[in-house]
């Protein structure tokens, strides 16, 4: 599931479950699902979010429409033209979502969400008797116009469409509630399909997430309908505080029940408050608010400068890392390392403000904004993982604050552009690591190799690098499989790999999950050479994989085997310095390669700060600019993972020396000479 980590997924799955449930009982599930998506995926375009949302709700709607069609005499003469008009307008509405700049769209969405919630909340009872009005041509025209208008709305936004349609069918065509609901569902399916017909082919759609959410949505709606049917209107009354006077008790009881079974019902719903508020999260505060903030900040900075021209300010380093969540095994050693970093550079006091982003992209972005706006940091180190680091680029570039990422993907610094101008990173690129593996394979007469990697950005990235290099070196790739971090079984993939009789297997995974395919292969009797990536270079991997990992090869930063490096290698001293410091603080054998990326980031800073201090005061835009320039000018800086030689085009600056091949032997890492 590229880019979406499992807590986010679980959160969205639960949101979809609720949405389906609410939709089935009272309607208005979109009011939950859309804010949840916006909140969880701050970096996705609104169009992508709508596409995903539509997909997840279209099934529920079609289900309901079909149920109606079976039981209710559908007023096709009105419904059909409305549906057709709605279809085309909804397509246009979806186009408008893509066409409008997101900066304009987000506040608009907030307003619409509140409006839709308010409407759902205050809606009154209506339509007890079926008395079709507007016969003939007029009806036809109305159907076209109104269907079109609501269609556009649904393509453009969505929540509340069902109730709007019901309202209009009742109000303008004199349908009773039941017939109106039936017609509304049909039109709603049309609009949903139209929007999807636009969103999906244009790539505004996260397939995996959409499917997961669709499943949960259906589960939820099933649950809702089931309970509503089973416990009748009393259940709805208990679930939500239903207002409304018992005007036509019998009829009402009937249509309420009938309607409940079909998935939407015009009732009040006081649940929109939470999600709506969450849409106001900083991520979504755009335009005006930001400007006011920026100008206030500017004013404050001016005043501060006037008053304190002579006072030397401290250097503030903001750190956001993933100390909890799925990437915690990488984030924790980084956090430990930050505690060991020097508190003065060139005689200047350095403050580290460390925040945890819980491996969550939204939080990483929030942290970055907070560090910049509130802590006025001069540089940001982080985050631990690629999706977070990518998301932070926009923010640091906007604020003109240099950032040093501790995540691996080359995409963080390539291709160089105006935004990445501000971004550096310390971990080796996957390409360098992949080259090392391919070289080792060539030297060991590996002709055929099977690849199995994470079904996410990590596995995909490795596949791209590895397959490119392997092809050049004439190594044949006989299998390309994927698995999820959370999978409990990879038997299918392993059987397929076994059938290819590959000379070697490369497992593109990180941390302990990478042990699963390896163990399965061994258990099923695989005898070839196994390769892992540097993502597994920690003690937990060895613990989990145990004897099944003996003899495995992997590329890694030299710090992993610092003590085994030849004395002539300058990196040995730098790496041992780090290992010594870390183990002195946290115990023997506690060191891992990941913390060393934080260490190297501070090395880069220590190298660039003195020059920058000569040019400007910490806390000023000039200082940040100077610091950035200084980082880019790093030459021949030996650190724990290699030797940095930055350039305007290369914001990593590592060469061959930054990686070694390592073999697992006797439950520990051995340098391959």
């Amino acid at each position: 599931m590229a880019g979406v980590d499992s807590p986010t997924m679980a959160g969205l799955a639960i949101a979809a479950l609720f949405a389906g449930f609410i939709d089935a009982v009272v309607g208005g599930g979109g009011l939950i699902q859309i804010p949840a998506l916006f909140n969880a995926l701050p970096r996705e375009l609104p169009a992508t979010i709508f596409g995903t949302n539509k997909f997840s709700s279209v099934l529920g709607t079609s289900n309901a429409a079909w149920r109606y069609a079976r039981r209710v005499q559908m007023p096709w003469r009105t419904t059909l033209p409305a549906a057709v008009a709605a279809f085309s307008c909804s397509y246009v509405g979806a186009m408008a979502v893509v066409w409008l700049p997101p900066a304009m769209l987000r506040p608009l969405i907030l307003v619409m969400l509140i409006a839709a919630a308010a409407y759902t909340f205050w809606r009154r009872d209506f339509g007890a008797i079926h008395r079709p009005q507007h016969q003939g041509r007029r009806e036809f025209a109305y159907a076209l116009i109104l269907g079109g208008a609501i269609g556009f709305y649904d393509g453009f936004f969505g929540p509340g469409t069902g109730s709007f349609l019901i309202f209009l069918f009742v109000r303008f065509f004199g349908f009773d509630f039941l017939h109106a609901s039936a017609a509304a569902k049909v039109v709603n399916v049309a609009t949903n399909l139209a929007a999807l017909a636009f969103f999906i082919p244009h790539g505004h759609f996260l397939p995996m997430l959409a499917l997961l959410m669709a499943t949960c949505n259906v589960l939820g709606s099933f649950l809702g309908a089931h309970l509503a049917l089973r416990h009748g209107s009393g259940f709805v009354r208990k679930t939500f505080f239903v207002r409304g006077e018992p005007l036509y008790p019998q009829i009402r009881a009937r249509y309420l029940r009938l309607d409940l079974s079909r998935g939407s019902c015009g009732r009040t719903m006081p649940v929109c408050c939470g999600p709506v508020c969450s849409l106001c999260a900083p991520e979504n505060r755009v335009g005006g608010t930001m400007k006011i903030k920026a100008s206030t900040a500017g004013l404050v900075a001016l005043l501060a400068a006037a008053f304190a021209a002579n006072v030397q300010a401290d250097i503030n380093v903001g750190v956001t890392l993933s100390a909890t969540g799925p990437a915690a095994s990488l984030g924790i050693p980084e956090k430990n390392t930050v505690a060991l970093l020097p508190t003065t550079i060139a005689g200047q006091k350095v403050n580290y403000i460390v925040l945890d982003d819980a491996s969550d992209t939204t939080t990483a972005v929030k942290n970055t904004r907070k560090l910049i706006a509130e802590n006025k940091v001069d540089v940001i180190i982080g985050s631990t993982i690629t999706p977070n680091s990518l998301a932070m680029i926009d923010v640091v570039a906007e604020a003109g604050t240099p950032m040093i990422a501790m995540a691996a993907s080359a995409r963080i610094i390539e291709p160089m552009d105006a935004k990445r101008y501000w971004v550096f990173k310390t971990p080796q690129n996957d390409a360098q690591m992949a080259t090392a593996i391919v070289e080792h394979m060539t030297n060991n007469n590996v002709r055929t190799v099977a690849y199995i990697g994470f079904a996410d950005a990590y596995g995909e990235g490795w596949w791209n690098e590895f397959s490119k290099i392997a092809e050049v070196r004439k190594i044949q790739i006989v299998a390309n499989e994927r698995f999820n971090r959370a999978d409990t079984s990879v038997t299918g993939q392993v059987l397929k790999i076994l059938a290819t009789k590959a000379d070697a297997v490369l497992i593109g995974g990180a941390g302990t999950p990478a042990a699963l395919p390896q163990k399965s292969l061994k258990e099923k009797g695989y005898k070839g050479i196994m390769y892992q990536t540097h993502g597994v270079a920690n003690a937990d991997f060895l613990r989990v994989c145990a004897k099944d990992c003996e003899g495995t090869f992997l590329p890694a930063g030299p710090v992993l085997v610092a003590a085994q490096l030849p004395d002539a290698n300058p990196i040995k001293k730098a790496a041992l310095e780090y290992v010594g410091k870390y183990e002195a603080a946290y115990g023997k054998g506690s060191v891992s390669t990941f913390g060393a990326h934080a260490w190297d980031a501070s090395k880069l800073l220590a190298n660039a700060v003195p020059e920058a201090l000569k040019k400007a005061q910490p806390g000023t835009p000039e200082f940040r600019q100077a610091l950035r320039d200084g980082l880019e000018k790093t030459r021949n800086l030996t650190a724990a993972h290699g030797v940095f030689n930055m350039s305007p085009q290369d914001h990593l600056g590592f060469d061959q020396r930054a990686r070694v091949m390592v073999k697992v032997e006797g439950g520990s890492w051995k340098l391959v000479q």
């Binding site: 499943t215 259906v218 649950l223 009748g232 259940f235 799925p326 409990t488 059987l495």
Partner: protein, 344 residues
């Protein structure tokens, strides 16, 4: 794909499906008896597996602290209630049950080095540590709101789920664990090895399902649970209180969860947050069974397992996509065909 691979995949699918089926049964049970949609069901899988792993590594599992904390809290609540009602004679029992027993267990774990104990004793200890969490969670989180609407109970479930995940991370760390196999036996099928452990999982799950069947069909407590699920008022009039039934069903759910976790931890790596997805697949099974039918729920869960297994062979990159795409029509079909019991 030849027959041999097909069989192996089928075996793998049924093995995983059996675990999902167990969880599906637990979900159906808990829902039918208490109306709670037990999202944290999966957490018991993770807690069971990780507690066993901690024991085997000779570490004191964090679950001990959870057990102690929850026990103390319950003792306080119940003790205060007993004082108010002047039932002083009950207090020693309350203390013994909620504080004494966990303390004793903790003491025993500190005294002996758990790593050197035989495997079966370790398993037993892990169950002793994890299973009581079920009724305790019921007592603390659900019983106070037992009469609330399903939606409120669902929200409580989400809260419990999130809390347990957080606690899991705190106790067991972000990295996964794997426990050694119960058996080292393996069979050669063609040129592929088949681990005895996977068969053990299958056999044990089937045995557990049969045991559950007997519990529900043959014992008075099992019948009492079914009775509560069918007719809450009727059951209360027989003296089967909602909280008794709740405790009992949560104990069963926790046992099923922990047991499943212990079963699969030798064949896969379990993380503190592994439970949710495993539980979700059980949930799909439960919904296929309309949250009411045990056999259909179990069959649905096994179907999910099979789908997973075959799709991971055919197109591993799209495994989840395939599984969910195929499940949705089944769910829709179920939702259209299930005969809902109208108000009696």
């Amino acid at each position: 794909m030849d027959l041999q691979i097909a069989l192996l995949l089928g075996q793998d699918g049924v093995t995983n499906g059996a675990i999902y089926a167990l969880l599906a049964l637990a979900l159906v049970l808990v829902f039918a008896v208490t109306r709670v949609i037990f999202i944290p069901q999966g957490e018991f899988v993770a807690f069971g597996a990780l507690t066993l792993a901690s024991l085997q590594a000779g570490r004191l599992p964090g679950t001990v602290w959870l057990l102690l904390a929850m026990g103390t809290l319950i003792a306080l609540i119940e003790g205060a209630a007993a004082l108010r009602k002047r039932h002083f004679r009950r207090i020693p029992l309350i203390l013994l049950l909620n504080c004494g027993a966990p303390l004793l267990l903790a003491g025993a774990l500190v005294a002996v080095s758990s790593a050197s104990l035989p495997l079966l004793v370790q398993v037993f200890l892990a169950l002793l540590l994890v299973v009581p969490l079920g009724p305790m969670i019921y007592r603390l989180a659900y019983q106070p709101v037992a009469e609330a609407s399903v939606l409120v109970l669902l929200i409580v479930s989400v809260a419990v789920h999130v809390t347990l995940i957080g606690i899991g991370l705190l106790f067991f760390g972000a990295e996964g664990s794997r426990t050694p196999s119960f058996t080292e036996v393996s069979f050669e099928v063609g040129d592929v090895l088949l681990q005895g452990q996977t068969l053990l999982v299958l056999v044990a799950s089937v045995l557990l399902i049969i045991a559950l069947y007997f519990f529900f069909e043959r014992t008075i407590y099992g019948k009492a649970l079914r009775a509560t699920a069918m007719n809450r008022t009727g059951a209360r009039l027989m003296g089967i209180s909602g909280s008794l039934a709740g405790m009992l069903s949560f104990t069963l759910a926790a046992s099923i969860g922990a047991f499943s976790g212990i079963l699969i931890s030798p064949i896969t790596t379990i993380y503190y947050d592994s439970g949710f997805l495993i539980g979700l697949k059980g949930f799909v099974g439960a919904i296929i069974g309309g949250l009411a039918s045990y056999p259909v729920a179990a069959a649905g869960a096994i179907l999910v397992g099979l789908l997973e297994s075959y799709s991971s062979f055919w197109a591993s990159a799209f495994k989840e996509v395939i599984v969910f795409t195929l499940i949705i029509p089944v769910l829709l079909w179920r939702s259209l065909t299930t005969r809902h019991v109208e108000e009696e």
